[in-house]
């Protein structure tokens, strides 16, 4: 037994057992069923207990039931839907424009040397500048309307998409390119069966980074400068110390962040189904 090798000098060696003990497991072991829900449930319980006992000042944090009631009120009056719709429209528009632009730039830089020379440098520079830092300049250029919000989301998304997809294109395995040449693949076959599958994993990484980025930028611009949307709703609530409304806003962001990530995850698993054989 390996555990005894240290103690040979200090302790008389016990006789070797006839049956070998199972090796001690060092990994964390099997996951608990629904284990991921345990932490949030505990937090919720603590929160409820603190509110009920009066330990928690409702001006600092409303009780869970107060938040639930506020949510129901806001839905019945239609206020919440209106803000959510506005935010979703901004996020979706910026996201789609950003994805398209990022993809287009990556493809141009990936397949042409001139494109690479012109595009790659500026994109790497942009990556070094946080998108939020562009807000003052973009407001000067575009005003504070919808266009500004959509553009700044699109910029953040485009950069993430570009970086990932360009890296994917450049990193296409040269061995497969040779294979395509000796097997006489047509250009369309090469693009469809070698380039596209080679880039897809990176594309999905870009997609998920882009989602995170679009929510982040959306929240920021809505809290800085807006007259509608979930961020505006929370900003207003802060002025009147309505912590329940702030929490409703956070819940909305959380739910949409989670759902959009789950959607990408499911799509990724289906599209990259060939990878599952590696994992199993």
């Amino acid at each position: 037994m390996a555990t005894e090798t240290f103690s040979v000098a200090t302790r008389p060696r016990s006789p070797v057992p006839a049956v070998r003990r199972a090796r001690r497991r060092l990994g964390p072991g099997r996951p608990l069923p629904y284990g991921r829900l345990l932490g949030p449930a505990l937090l919720l319980a603590l929160w409820a207990a603190a509110s009920a006992s009066g330990l928690l000042d409702p001006r600092k944090l409303s009780a869970p039931w107060a938040v639930a009631r506020t949510t129901a009120d806001m839905i019945s009056t239609g206020v919440l839907q209106e803000h959510v719709l506005t935010s979703l429209t901004r996020a979706t528009a910026g996201f789609l424009i950003g994805i398209t632009a990022g993809l287009a730039l990556a493809v141009i830089a990936g397949i042409s040397r001139i494109g690479e020379a012109l595009i790659d440098g500026p994109m790497k520079i942009k990556l070094a500048i946080p998108t939020i830092g562009l807000i003052p300049l973009l407001i000067l250029w575009l005003g504070i309307g919808e266009l500004f919000k959509i553009v700044i989301i699109a910029v953040a998304v485009a950069v993430y998409m570009y970086i990932q997809v360009y890296a994917g294109l450049v990193g296409i395995d040269k061995r497969y390119v040779e294979l395509a040449e000796v097997q006489g693949y047509r250009r369309s076959e090469f693009l469809r069966h070698v380039v596209l599958p080679g880039v897809l994993p990176q594309f999905f990484v870009g997609l998920r980074l882009s989602l995170t980025a679009s929510w982040l930028v959306l929240i920021t611009v809505e809290q800085i400068n807006a007259l509608s949307g979930v961020g505006y709703m929370m900003e207003q609530a802060q002025q009147y110390a309505q912590t329940d409304v702030i929490l409703v806003g956070l819940a909305v962001y959380g739910i949409f962040g989670f759902l959009s990530d789950a959607l990408v995850r499911v799509t990724e698993r289906r599209v990259l189904s060939w990878r599952r054989t590696l994992a199993s």
Partner: protein, 239 residues
């Protein structure tokens, strides 16, 4: 480069020179391979075997040099790695790029020939190394090539699998009759498989022999031993 005379052409290499910087790897190499002939190319590591093979495969566009090459139209290559696209199923890997009627049937036949009937829908990663290399063989033969180029195709396989692959390759080449250039650093493999063996040394063909051994040869035959000794000496290994 490639000429289409309509009949079987074989390979003709005239004064082929290839260099990397100042390093002349191939120095006016002349070599001809008749249609259907099985040639093994031996040489020390770094002697330029792959460089020669890649020139024949048309994969050396960045390499400096000159000379003349005449090669058949239908050339296929087997690499040391099986080089299967991991995101395409086995049959799809075999038939991608195949321009022939009924590609799926032909692909399935080719897979059956290498003993992989029924594995058409498997993913490449589900196969063992030997099986993957058999798929690569099926892929390279499905288009009925006139010239088969193989660069240490069994180099990554274990000894037992390699012996089985030797039998398979010989049987396939007997049936399909491509000209073959097999690069290897394994003297036994060369003697076992080839009709003719050439040794590359100092950028030139140093040895070019046709041992004339029977089809069913084993390393125990005296003739086999003799050829083996000769080749080992040419490679600078004296036993």
């Amino acid at each position: 480069m490639a000429t289409d005379t309509g009949e079987l052409t074989g390979v003709r290499i005239d004064k082929l020179t290839r260099r990397f910087g100042d390093h002349v790897v191939l120095d006016r190499v002349d070599l001809q391979i008749a249609p259907g002939e099985f040639v093994a190319l031996l040489g020390r590591s770094g002697s330029g075997k792959s460089t020669l093979l890649r020139a024949l495969a048309g994969l050396d566009y960045d390499v400096a040099g000159d000379g003349e090459l005449r090669i058949p139209d239908r050339v296929s290559v087997v690499f040391q790695d099986s080089r299967l696209l991991p995101w395409r199923r086995v049959l799809d890997n075999v038939i991608l790029g195949l321009r022939a009627p009924n590609p799926r049937e032909r692909g399935a036949e080719a897979l059956a020939e290498v003993g992989l009937a029924g594995r058409e829908r498997a993913w490449p990663t589900e196969l063992s190394g030997g099986e993957q290399q058999r798929v690569a063989l099926a892929r390279s033969l499905v288009g009925e090539p006139e010239l088969l180029l193989a660069d240490e195709p069994f180099g990554a396989l274990d000894a037992l699998t390699r012996i089985r692959m030797h039998g398979l390759l010989r049987a396939l080449c007997k049936r399909h009759q491509p000209a073959v250039l097999l690069v290897t650093h394994d003297v036994d493999e060369a003697v076992q498989l080839a009709d003719r063996i050439v040794v590359l040394d100092g950028g030139r063909i140093a040895v070019d022999i046709r041992p004339g051994l029977p089809d069913s040869r084993t390393p125990r035959d005296p003739g086999f031993q003799e050829v083996r000794e000769l080749l080992l000496r040419a490679l600078g290994v004296t036993s």
